[in-house]
């Protein structure tokens, strides 16, 4: 009789089974015939045992309670256990059982309502943000960020990516930042200005490109060179910085990169070239010294843990 097995699995416990039996009587829960229920309940458990279904302890306990109620009912009223008047209702085991059944039934209904809510949540979709209509400012100033920040970001990605490689051949790196600094300063001395892109046209290796970027950035930070752009989408020009160097600005120790040499700060002299930048010049990307942390080149900066 496999249907018992199936049916039994539906019941969440003895109270659930009791509710089922009460429902079968089709009367109000307060008027249910507990003696009959007790008989049915015990019969049910017996059937489960015959079918080798593990009968949980809770069912046995409930069966005992029901049998007690049943045996009590069989006695004449005067022979039933004496019950104090004022507490009679509360301590009547029949009442206690019905009270528990009613309470359980209410929570079972509440659980059903939660289930309905759970189901309906599948059908509710969240609104996606509409487009905010914010009229443009009269004049949106160019941001303090420039393409150099982007380049700098590229450099630090490359750096970190190299570090993450588990095993790799260590190659002698012929390019150093200080070499490139020297080169760029010479270039600036011979040419009034040069295009940003032209710096990299001759580069023929990974490290040379990176090192050239870094050297350029360093020279800009040291206010030896400036990068200018006459307007959006225009060519970026690199040229010698105007001569004035803020005396308050401390010369900070600079880049220590893959190269073995440290560029010497003392060598850095303000460029004598008296050219003034054009008025519409975009300021160099590196912010003034008072806002700047000691090293603007975020080589060692990690924004998060690197995976092994």
């Amino acid at each position: 009789m496999p249907e018992y097995r199936v049916q039994f699995e539906v019941f969440e416990g003895p109270l659930d089974l009791l509710l089922h039996l009460v429902k079968k009587q089709e009367v109000d829960i307060y008027k249910v015939n507990l003696t009959r229920i007790a008989t049915e309940f015990v019969a049910y458990i017996e059937q489960m045992r015959e079918l080798d279904i593990d009968v949980a302890g809770e069912f046995v306990v409930m069966a005992a309670t029901l049998l007690y109620i049943k045996s009590r009912e069989l006695l004449p009223v005067e022979k039933q256990a004496v019950v104090e008047d004022d507490d009679a209702q509360e301590d009547d085991p029949r009442w206690e059982l019905i009270r528990r059944l009613v309470e359980y039934k209410k929570f079972k209904d509440a659980a059903f309502q939660l289930k309905e809510r759970e189901d309906s949540m599948d059908l509710v979709y969240e609104h996606q943000p509409g487009r905010p209509n914010i009229p443009a400012e009269t004049e949106t100033p160019r941001s303090a960020v420039s393409v150099f920040d982007l380049v700098q970001a590229v450099a630090s990605i490359l750096k970190r990516h190299g570090e993450r490689t588990d095993i790799r051949e260590i190659q002698a790196d012929p390019h150093t930042v200080s070499d490139r600094i020297d080169y760029l300063r010479k270039l600036a001395a011979t040419k009034a200005r040069f295009r940003f892109g032209e710096l990299f046209e001759t580069a023929h290796s990974r490290s040379q490109v990176v090192v050239t970027f870094l050297a350029l950035l360093e020279l800009i930070r040291m206010k030896v060179l400036v990068a200018t752009q006459s307007g959006e989408f225009e060519e970026i020009w690199v040229e010698a910085a105007p001569p004035h160097v803020d005396p308050a600005q401390p010369e900070l120790p600079i880049y220590s990169g893959p190269g073995p040499q440290q560029p010497s700060i003392q060598e850095v002299q303000p460029n004598e070239q008296p050219t003034q930048p054009p008025a519409d010049i975009v300021p160099p990307p590196v912010a003034p010294a008072e806002h700047e942390p000691p090293s603007p080149i975020p080589i060692a900066e990690h924004s998060g843990p690197s995976p092994a």
């Binding site: 416990g13 309670t65 209410k106 939660l114 289930k115 309906s120 509710v124 943000p129």
Partner: protein, 234 residues
């Protein structure tokens, strides 16, 4: 500029639900902005209660407009959501919502009991459900739908459980008062665990102890007995 519509514009532009406190902060920031118009400065220091009232009014307006979406409050935060009627098209458009697997019947029953009676001990839950709930409690805790919420001031100081913010979000409830038929279920006098379920066997062997409503063997904290209705807030 009506507060209601300003809140509407903010909720309409937000990627996530916003609480009245968050909305108040936005109003304050807008008022403090340089060159803020008079209308924005006028709403500086708007009270959270006023924002709450405006949100309820706004939700009622949208409800009565019978559109495809409504303003819903879930776990105290507000957001626009679509009505379930439009699910067939939204499913085709956005794909089936990825939601955690459904709760089982025992989990739902246990959760319902905790939701209405929190904070509640395991023994009290078992008293109502009539079965052990250890496994179910563990599942509900794993899914972050319930948390341990202190210990009951009774012998053994058993752990008490309460529902979480995630519970409200999972069922899309504004708060615990939003539980269906909440009052009725909360007002059932709670039978405090004078005895555990297993102790009920005494009924069979020793009916006399039942007849004598003396102090049970377990000493129960009188404050718990005398105060059966748990506070509605967790």
């Amino acid at each position: 500029m009506e507060l209601k519509l300003i809140l509407e514009a903010l909720l309409h532009t937000s990627q996530k639900p916003l609480s009245p406190a968050e909305l108040r902060d936005v109003l304050n920031r807008a008022a403090d902005e340089e060159g803020a118009p008079e209308s924005a400065r006028a709403l500086k220091a708007t009270k959270v209660e006023d924002i709450n009232a405006a949100l309820h009014a706004l939700a009622a307006e949208h409800e009565s407009a019978r559109r495809s979406f409504r303003l819903a409050c879930v776990a105290g935060s507000w957001q626009f959501v679509t009505n379930p009627d439009y699910a067939p098209w939204l499913k085709a458009f956005l794909g089936v919502k990825s939601r955690p697997s459904r709760l089982t019947q025992p989990a739902l029953e246990t959760l319902a009991i905790i939701a209405y009676r929190q904070p509640i001990t395991r023994a009290e839950i078992e008293q109502i459900r009539g079965v052990a709930v250890d496994g179910v409690i563990a599942t509900l805790r794993e899914r972050n739908l319930i948390v341990e919420a202190g210990r009951a001031e009774v012998i053994g100081r058993p752990m008490q459980y309460a529902t979480t913010q995630a519970f409200l979000e999972y069922f899309g409830l504004p708060d615990l008062d939003g539980l269906p038929a909440a009052d009725e279920l909360r007002l059932i006098p709670v039978q405090r665990p004078q005895s555990l379920l297993t102790v009920d066997t005494e009924l069979v062997t020793a009916p006399s102890t039942v007849a004598q409503p003396e102090l049970p063997i377990e000493a129960v904290d009188p404050s718990v007995q005398g105060n059966p209705a748990p506070p509605p807030e967790p």
